[in-house]
């Protein structure tokens, strides 16, 4: 049991960045095709990563390194929580630590662009965090437990009863993937007026760490989405991949909106979906 868990964690730690990096490669390729370009090879993110690692080690503040490590380590920790099928609510809080680390990394230097980016990243947290926490409560409402392992014991997929929350999570995925219309704090494309936003002041090896953390993050998010159809898991994974492709489409057909609009939308539509969902389960099922 113990050995199996260690093995699982090990596979996740090694496998997640590889798959995550490939997904980003696919992202760039598909996006290029949608824009009428040929696009880079699928393994381009890995080339970029190793190139960044070899770059000169320059900095504007020591604190920014501390926080980028915090971002990476807590992202990995959240992923381990997912792999070990632990408590979902705690996972969301740990993911919150990772997000806060990134914001503080942006704040910890007197750079106007990083500062803008950090403020916007903070607004993004404000926009998606309640939705993720509501998902946790929705899972509890359905299963009577916050444990992810409990989700795998249920025959009926969560998607049947929690589909409004699923819609809200798709929306969170767009924010977390930094895709239009929510590429507000930083963006993968060079059409930002705030340069590279929250990551402006990172360069070389430390920027590589940011990419690494993003790869873990995408796997974590897609993993959370696949929980909505955990039995059999391959259906869930297919749903997650479909969601990923959908995000790419949305990214390419929408324009970036303002942070205020994002928060308002999330606190109205996202929360109403979540609250209505939980209220429905509460009144039909009661407290289990």
């Amino acid at each position: 049991m113990m050995i199996k868990q260690f093995l699982l964690v090990f596979v996740a730690l090694v496998g997640a960045p590889i798959v995550g990096g490939l997904l980003f490669g696919i992202d760039r390729r598909i996006t290029a095709r949608l824009q009428g370009r040929y696009g880079p090879p699928i393994v381009q993110p890995f080339y970029d990563f190793f190139k960044l690692l070899g770059k000169e080690h320059i900095a504007v503040s020591k604190m920014q390194f501390v926080w980028i490590y915090g971002y990476l380590v807590f992202m990995i920790t959240s992923l381990i929580f997912l792999v070990l099928k632990s408590d979902f609510l705690l996972l969301v809080f740990l993911l919150g630590f990772a997000a806060v680390s990134l914001v503080l990394g942006g704040f910890s230097t007197k750079s106007p662009y990083a500062h803008f980016g950090a403020n916007r990243e903070l607004l993004q947290i404000l926009a998606y965090e309640p939705v993720l926490l509501l998902v946790a409560i929705g899972i509890y409402a359905q299963n009577g437990s916050f444990l992810i392992s409990e989700i795998f014991k249920q025959d009926k997929p969560l998607l049947f009863t929690l589909w409004p929350l699923f819609l809200a999570v798709l929306y969170v995925l767009t924010i977390k993937m930094r895709k239009s219309p929510f590429d507000i704090a930083t963006s993968h494309h060079g059409h930002q007026e705030i340069v590279k936003g929250v990551t402006t002041e990172y360069s070389g090896p430390y920027f590589a760490l940011f990419h690494l953390a993003e790869w873990y993050e995408i796997i974590l998010l897609l993993g959370i989405i696949s929980l909505f159809w955990a039995n059999p898991l391959w259906v869930g994974i297919l749903i997650a991949l479909a969601a990923f492709i959908l995000e790419l489409l949305i990214d390419n057909i929408t324009a970036r909106m303002t942070a205020g609009w994002m928060v308002r939308l999330s606190w109205s539509v996202g929360l109403i979906l979540g609250i209505a969902n939980i209220a429905y389960i509460y009144f039909t099922k009661g407290v289990s």
């Binding site: 080690h57 915090g70 705690l90 809080f93 704040f107 509460y282 407290v287």
Partner: protein, 648 residues
């Protein structure tokens, strides 16, 4: 027992008499040490009951009661403050009616019941309260030095501070409601004196506001006493043990219980009473630290928590959960719009007290355990943060968050301690988050409260991160000289900082040895001797223990914290050659030096750039939110008291 309650009184008078700075400091430190030792002795000894004899204590308390109330009247007259006057009168007349017309017998045995919850409280009061008193020794000297006062009032300040600890100890031990009421009034009085300490116009105005708001609570308290006495057959009903133990007629006690909960809400500064606690911010910082962490507001949540079994399973319980949850949400939103550090802390306190009260309202063993955990961790973290705020204030002589920009360079040590304090308020693996996490796990019983918890905890992330970000914002520069702190500052700071980690990492054993018993005491209506450590409600091997603390990997998460933040902080070195200026689109002025914040603005004019935080005054400002938030809060309070009435 005498040490816990009377020693602070005696020490207080001694402090008042001693005029020498060092001698006075020695008295304070000695008192603190004895209080701490005594509370630890109590904790080891376990629960007990006690009734003082040999002297007519009841008479003394009655006389002092009138003394305090007449003093309120005097304040009301001298300040021409009608609200103080009205609510002092509404207390003194019922009290006189109770004692002279009804000729009440108020002897209750046992007079003091010290159960595990009281033990937890007294540990908090004695240890954290004492540390704050030690901090105050030096702080008040610097404070007066800064204000250029002719005549020192430090003795008076420390007198009320130390007296406060005694009153709080009495409050959590008292079983006799009339005595509880007395200690309650003493804390209100101490609070008034401490807020008004600087004698500025604003200080006196805010102190008077605190007084009348708490006096409405006192009025509700005395009404509850009279109601209980007259409907439940005399002094039997004045024993807290009987009220929560189910010894009285069930449905009739709901109204007094609702009134007492109202009293708790006033003292815990729940909306719409939040303004008195915010007003209290004008006082010197040790006062805020004391009011927020270990005394005063904790008395409010203690009372509600104590009464939890008396309203279990009623609509009153659900309403209390809503009152608390709404305050948690509203105060967290308001905290975002605050530009003053201490006001952010104040709103955060109000929010967390709301969370604790909501847990008491949710009223499952799990929620009660969460409430007690939150009381402990909040006291440590908030005590630390207020002391940090005080230390920062005496370094930059400002309380504004914007003035704290780049504090990491000016005072790296203070910043480090503050940063840990801030992180410990809202992130895993720290204790506050464990409490919040358990609270949300328990909250589904009242789903609307759970939704408020979720929204509020998100807002919490925003205001803390925003503030911490301002502290860290520095120009590219190496060599941050570490500042020197006076021992009177650094001992409390380091003690509380270590406390965060010791109590946080030791949460498992502490839970098993203390909290299980304390939760049982609360949930079971407090049969402290019949139900000890191993009873039916909650045992150390029960569901909560396995499900909640079993999942929470304490050690691994603290280890991860070290790997993620501490190791990079210590291990990563930075050479001067690696330092670069921030990106300014190549418009940097300052001749290539990295630590410049000047750039070429329009017409190549060299301009300093300024950064500021977001405060959202338009959407989340007090002016915008107060009207409807207070309206909802008042409505909830009316429903709460209504719940007590309707059952009858």
């Amino acid at each position: 027992m005498a040490i816990a309650i009377l020693l602070p009184v005696v020490a207080g008078f001694l402090i008042l008499a001693v005029r020498n700075y060092y001698a006075r400091g020695a008295v304070v430190i000695l008192t603190s040490l004895i209080l701490i030792a005594n509370s630890i002795f109590f904790a080891i000894k376990g629960p007990f009951t006690y009734t003082p004899g040999g002297f007519n204590w009841g008479l003394l308390i009655t006389i002092l009661d009138y003394g305090i109330l007449i003093f309120y009247l005097y304040i009301g007259f001298s300040l021409r403050n009608w609200l103080v006057l009205i609510f002092a009168t509404t207390q003194i007349i019922p009290l006189a009616y109770f004692e002279f017309v009804m000729k009440a017998h108020i002897e209750v045995t046992p007079a003091f019941v010290v159960d595990h919850l009281a033990l937890v409280m007294t540990l908090i009061i004695s240890i954290i309260g004492s540390l704050i008193c030690i901090f105050a020794i030096r702080y008040m000297r610097d404070h007066e030095h800064h204000l250029h006062l002719e005549k020192s009032k430090q003795s008076r300040f420390l007198f009320w501070l130390v007296l406060f600890l005694g009153a709080m100890n009495g409050l959590v031990f008292a079983n006799n409601l009339v005595w509880l009421y007395f200690f309650w009034e003493v804390t209100t009085l101490c609070c008034y004196q401490l807020i008004a300490h600087d004698r500025t116009e604003l200080a006196i105005k805010n102190a008077a506001r605190a007084l009348w708001m708490n006096a409405t609570g006192g009025t509700a308290f005395i009404c509850a006493i009279i109601y209980l006495y007259s409907t439940q057959g005399g002094a039997v009903a004045l024993s807290m043990q009987n009220i929560i133990g189910g010894a009285l007629q069930g449905s009739l006690i709901l109204l007094p219980v609702a009134l007492l909960c109202y009293t708790g809400c006033t003292k815990a500064a729940q909306m719409p009473f939040q303004t008195w606690l915010l007003g209290a911010m004008v006082a010197p910082t040790p006062v805020s630290a004391l009011l927020h962490s270990s005394t005063m507001v904790k008395a409010g949540v203690y009372l509600v928590l104590r009464l939890a079994p008396a309203f279990a399973g009623t609509y009153l319980s659900t309403t209390i959960a809503m009152v608390g949850a709404f305050t948690f949400f509203g105060a967290s939103a308001l905290a975002i719009s605050q530009t003053t550090g201490k006001r952010v802390l104040a709103y955060s306190t109000i929010a967390n007290l709301g969370l604790i009260i909501a847990c008491a309202g949710i009223n499952t063993p799990l929620a009660i355990a969460a409430a007690i955990l939150l009381i402990i961790f909040h006291a440590i973290s908030k005590g630390l943060l207020f002391l940090c705020a005080g230390t920062i204030e005496h370094q930059i002589w400002s309380r504004e968050i914007e003035d704290m920009e780049g504090l990491a360079v000016k005072a790296p040590l203070t910043t480090l301690i503050t940063a840990i304090g801030i992180l410990s308020m809202f992130l895993p693996p720290f204790g506050m988050l464990v409490g919040k996490w358990i609270a949300i796990e328990a909250a589904y019983v009242v789903p609307l409260a759970a939704v408020f918890f979720v929204l509020a905890s998100t807002l919490t992330i925003v205001f803390w991160t925003k503030w911490l970000g301002r502290l860290l914002q520095v120009l590219p520069k190496l060599g941050w000289p570490i500042e020197k702190l006076s021992l009177s500052y650094s001992i409390p700071l380091w003690s509380l900082l270590i406390g965060i980690f010791v109590v946080g990492i030791g949460i498992g054993p502490i839970y098993q040895n203390f909290l299980v018993a304390a939760t049982n005491n609360v949930v079971s209506g407090n049969q402290i001797f019949a139900l000890g450590m191993n009873n039916l409600v909650l045992t150390s091997t029960s569901f909560i223990h396995k499900e909640i603390l079993g999942i929470f990997p304490v050690w691994p998460l603290y280890l991860i914290l070290i790997v993620a933040l501490l190791m990079p902080l210590l291990l990563i070195g930075l050479k001067p050659t690696e330092l670069r200026a921030v990106y300014m689109c190549g418009e940097q002025a300052g001749g290539g030096a990295p630590d410049t914040d000047e750039w070429f603005a329009e017409a190549d004019k060299v301009t300093k750039f300024k950064l500021g935080g977001y405060y959202f005054q338009d959407t989340l400002g007090e002016k915008r939110i107060y009207p409807w938030a207070n309206a909802i809060a008042i409505l909830l309070l009316i429903i709460m008291i209504g719940c007590g009435v309707i059952v009858i």
